[in-house]
Symmetry: D2
Subunit: 152 residues, 4 copies
């Protein structure tokens, strides 16, 4: 993990046709798919792929979702997805997301995660020291974004 | 709308294979699809189909989602989905959901909705009197469920 | 398996909102989800659930899909889905599907399947005698439907 | 359209978690979503976005799909998607697709398309001269790929 990196990471997406619905806009459930893309790329950016965690038997199931929809996205819109660590207490992780198009905030969200090792619930601070070290550093680095989101 | 009906409505679903993910469980975004099925059947049960609303140019876009995942669902699980009006203030509607399998609560959620008429934001209490009358009656009838969910 | 049953089985579905796209109709990929529902219910109807096969380590991966789209389906349309065994040669299985709304054919399709046991490719006629017996009987019972579909 | 371009176009995708199913692999219906991404990028590469066509009231609904699944894709796999015009006769368009990971062919497919203008079926060669000119040029440029696919 690059100590000098900016807080959070940003991905570029393009709205796929099948992600729209009969309202002509992106169906609200599909933003959760994008959040997941954001998590995947976030972990890759900090040097730990979710795929490699899974290959070691570690998983991070979603236990809660919150999202607010401010403006709709449409087919072929170029999407900017910002992802950060909103909170991490050694047991549970909350990721934060902001979805924008042309600088306009379309959707903001959070996902809360537990951790399992070989199918058993674990606290990273006790059982997954390397995961804990990375997430702790991320939480610290992303504090400016998390603070801003909390006040939003 | 039957005045003597029980609060809320219940639908039966069966988990579809494509709704699962590589964890072997239903992907968390798919519960939002089920919530939508619940809304569709709720409105049908109270005498107003969402399709007929759309045909009149009325829509009820999702502006917020909250969901908590308690236990996973698996392929072919028989699902019981309870849907009710959690809150309605004449402008915004909040629906509540409980997803169960064999009596066990898997997921609880809420969706918040605005209203539009011919693409323009409207308050049902001012602009959609028949929608307002039905939703007000539903909010009253579902108060016992909404209260229970609020304390949860 | 009831020897006197009619060829094929029929399921009732209702189009879900998220299954539509910005054209206002059901996205063509979602018919493949319905085909899968048809397979699940077909196997249940002939006394062998796909879930129980999976629990024994048997899988039936899709190796080919063909579908023709004749007319669109829309949100909340009541759908009638007919599923049958189109062909079975002891090694590969082809299922056939017809999707209708109010008697009108919307989509016809086929899926071709291989078989695996504990992750290894197998021929049911050699390695899965009970699966082979059921599918052979199904192929015979569904011959009238398969013939009709082949001439279509 | 660059006259010197190579036949077909290639896109890079990354398998998203929600695209997997309980078999641990990408669900077969999701390849159709990728084909659609390929079409979108193909049209953009030849100077005509599908979004701009839709804004003019032109659509190109899918009337048939064929796909063969050779090897599975898994979460986070980097995917190479090749898209070309397989056939175009002035009325109907067939697009061809090859999905690869690390050079290995995972899936090959075709989609057949009709054309509509303001909701009415049309033949581009008669009613949409600029679309017809571009697709005719594409069919010619992609002939080497289409020929190779036909012999496969």
């Amino acid at each position: 993990m690059n100590e000098a990196r900016q807080p959070g990471i940003t991905c570029q997406l393009r709205v796929r046709y099948h992600e729209t619905d009969a309202m002509g806009i992106v169906h609200h459930a599909n933003y959760l798919h994008w959040f997941e893309v954001g998590r995947t790329e976030y972990l890759r950016a900090v040097g730990m792929t979710y795929r490699s965690l899974e290959e070691q038997g570690i998983a991070s199931p979603v236990i809660g979702i919150r999202s607010r929809y401010h403006h709709p996205a449409r087919y072929d819109d170029p999407i900017e997805l910002e992802t950060w660590v909103q909170a991490y207490n050694g047991v549970r992780l909350t990721m934060g997301y902001a979805v924008r198009c042309a600088g306009r905030l379309l959707c903001s969200g959070r996902s809360e995660h537990a951790f399992t090792d070989q199918g058993r619930a674990v606290a990273p601070k006790r059982s997954l020291p390397s995961v804990h070290a990375i997430l702790s550093a991320c939480a610290l680095a992303d504090l400016p974004l998390a603070d801003k989101a909390d006040r939003a």
